[in-house]
C-alpha cells in the first residue's frame, strides 16, 4: 500500500481500537497533527526535540484514553491533542524548574479547560515512573515480557524471537523476569501508592 490511509475523527478512534490498524492510525496522527502541535510547543520555548518528545507522550496518552473508552469526542481530536500536549509541556517546564518559562506557561495555561486533561497528565507521569522502573530490568527480561504481555505472543512464538532452547526455558525465564519486576515494584512503595488508581 503506497498511499497513506486517511481517517475522519470517528474512523481514527475506531482504528486506534483495532490492533491491526494501530500503526496506520499512529502514522496518520503524526502526519496530520505533529507539525502544528510541535509548533505550539516551540512557541512556548521548547526545542524541536522537546516538541517531538512531548508529542510522542501526547500520542501515547491519547491512545490510552481511547482504548479505555474514556475519549468522549466533545472536542475535535486536534483540539484535544493540542490541549494534552500543552499540559504535558507545562508540566515538563515545571519539572525543569525554569522560572522564566514557568511564569509564561501558567499564565497561558489558565485559558484551557483542564478537568479531564489534568487526570491524563497525572496518570501519564505515574506511568512514566513505572516505565523507568521497567528499564532497570535487563534487556532480555524486557524483551520477553514485552513479547508475552504486549505483543501477546505464545511461548512457542517467543521461541522464534529469542535464543532459548525450548518453550519450557522461555516459560521459566518469563516467571523469573516477572518476579524480578514485582520485586522491584515491591521495593518502590511510592510507585505502588501512586499507581493504585491505575491498577484498579
Amino acid at each position: 500500500m503506497s498511499v497513506a490511509v486517511k481517517y475522519t475523527d470517528a474512523e481514527l478512534i475506531a482504528a486506534i481500537k483495532d490492533e491491526r490498524q494501530l500503526n496506520s492510525a499512529i502514522l496518520f496522527i503524526y502526519k496530520k497533527y505533529a507539525e502544528s502541535t510541535s509548533a505550539f510547543i516551540m512557541s512556548y520555548g521548547g526545542s524541536r526535540q522537546d516538541a517531538e518528545d512531548v508529542f510522542q507522550d501526547t500520542v501515547v496518552a491519547f491512545i490510552n484514553i481511547v482504548t479505555k473508552g474514556s475519549y468522549r469526542m466533545e472536542a475535535s481530536i486536534k483540539t484535544f491533542l493540542v490541549s494534552v500536549a500543552k499540559n504535558i509541556w507545562f508540566n515538563e517546564v515545571k519539572r525543569r524548574e525554569r522560572a522564566d518559562f514557568r511564569e509564561k506557561a501558567y499564565e497561558a495555561g489558565r485559558e484551557v479547560k483542564e478537568q479531564d486533561i489534568s487526570q491524563v497528565i497525572s496518570e501519564m507521569e505515574q506511568k512514566r515512573a513505572l516505565r523507568d522502573l521497567i528499564h532497570t530490568l535487563g534487556e532480555s527480561c524486557r524483551k520477553i515480557l514485552l513479547l508475552f504481555y504486549y505483543e501477546n505472543l505464545s511461548m512457542k512464538e517467543i521461541l522464534g524471537h529469542l535464543p532459548y532452547e525450548n518453550e519450557q526455558v522461555v516459560r521459566n525465564k518469563k516467571y523469573k523476569c516477572l518476579q524480578q519486576l514485582t520485586g522491584i515494584i515491591k521495593s518502590s512503595p511510592s510507585i505502588v501508592t501512586q499507581m493504585k488508581e491505575i491498577a484498579k
Partner: protein
C-alpha cells in the same frame, strides 16, 4: 509466599488476563493477604509493560514519520530541475544521435542505480525499541553488524527487516536485500499496515536496478512515479526518463 505459590499465582494471573476464571484463585485471594498484595504488584507490572510497549510502538512510528519527512524535503528541490533533464535528454537524442548511441551502450539498470542511489538515514531519536541493536549498528554504518544484530534480534519487525535489507544493499548482496524488502511489503499487506512500506518499495526497486533486473524494478518505479503522495515520488521522478527507457528496453 513460597516460590511455588508465586509461580502458581502468575499462572492464575496470565489466565485471568485471557479471561479464564479460577475458583481456586478466588479462594487464594480471599484467604491470603500476601497473595492480594502480590496480585496488585503483578497488575502494576503488566500495566507498566503494556505502557512501555505502546511507548516503543509510537516511537517506532515517530521514526518512520521523521524518515519520510527527511526524504521528502530535499527532493522537492530536485523535482524543479527534472523537466530540464527530460527535455535535454529528448533534444540530445534527436539532435545528437551519436550521443544517443553512446548513451544506449553505456546506460544500464545498474548504472541508473549507481547514479541515483541515496543512502537511507535511520532516525536517532529517543525511544528504545526492540530494533535498537540493528538500528545502532545501522547508524554506525556497520553493515555486517546490522546483519549480525538482525540474526539475534528479539523481533523481526518491519524496521529491522528494512534496515537489514539496506545493510545488504550497501554490501551489494542484492538477492538478500530484495528478500527482506519484499518481506516488509508482505508483512504490511498481511497486517493492513504501512510501516516502512514506501521505503521498502523504493529500495526494492533500487535493489532490482542494482542487480540489473530492470524488468522487476520497473513496475515499482512506475507505481511510485504515478503516485504523487508516495514519499519517494520526487526522488524517482528525478531519474532521467531516457535512462529508465534504456534500462527497460535493453
Amino acid at each position: 509466599m513460597s516460590p511455588n505459590q508465586e509461580t502458581s499465582l502468575i499462572d492464575h494471573f496470565d489466565n485471568h488476563l485471557k479471561g479464564i476464571a479460577s475458583p481456586e484463585l478466588e479462594q487464594l485471594l480471599a484467604q491470603d493477604p500476601e497473595a492480594v498484595q502480590e496480585w496488585a504488584r503483578l497488575q502494576l507490572a503488566v500495566e507498566g509493560i503494556k505502557e512501555l510497549g505502546l511507548y516503543e510502538q509510537v516511537g517506532a512510528v515517530r521514526r518512520t514519520w521523521q524518515q519520510q519527512q527527511e526524504t521528502a524535503t530535499p527532493s522537492i528541490v530536485r523535482r524543479l530541475s527534472h523537466g530540464y533533464f527530460r527535455a535535454a535528454a529528448v533534444i540530445a537524442i534527436v539532435a545528437f544521435s551519436g550521443i544517443a548511441v553512446y548513451k544506449y551502450t553505456t546506460t544500464s539498470a545498474a548504472g541508473v542505480y549507481a547514479e541515483n542511489y541515496i543512502s537511507f538515514q535511520s532516525g536517532t531519536q529517543r525511544g528504545t525499541g526492540m530494533a535498537d541493536d540493528v538500528r545502532q549498528a545501522y547508524q554506525e554504518k556497520n553493515w555486517a553488524g546490522v546483519i549480525e544484530a538482525f540474526k539475534h534480534a528479539a523481533v523481526h519487525n518491519n524496521e529491522n527487516l528494512f534496515l537489514t535489507g539496506m545493510a545488504n544493499l550497501e554490501l551489494k548482496r542484492y538477492a538478500e536485500a530484495a528478500v527482506l524488502f519484499q518481506q516488509v511489503i508482505d508483512n504490511n499487506a498481511k497486517a493492513h499496515d504501512t510501516l516502512f512500506e514506501e521505503d521498502a518499495e523504493y529500495y526494492l526497486a533500487m535493489t532490482q536496478l542494482a542487480a540489473n533486473h530492470a524488468k522487476e524494478a520497473m513496475p515499482l518505479i512506475d507505481r511510485i512515479k504515478a503516485d504523487p503522495h508516495h514519499a519517494y515520488h520526487d526522488q524517482v521522478k528525478k531519474i532521467p526518463s531516457i535512462d529508465l527507457w534504456i534500462a527497460r528496453h535493453k
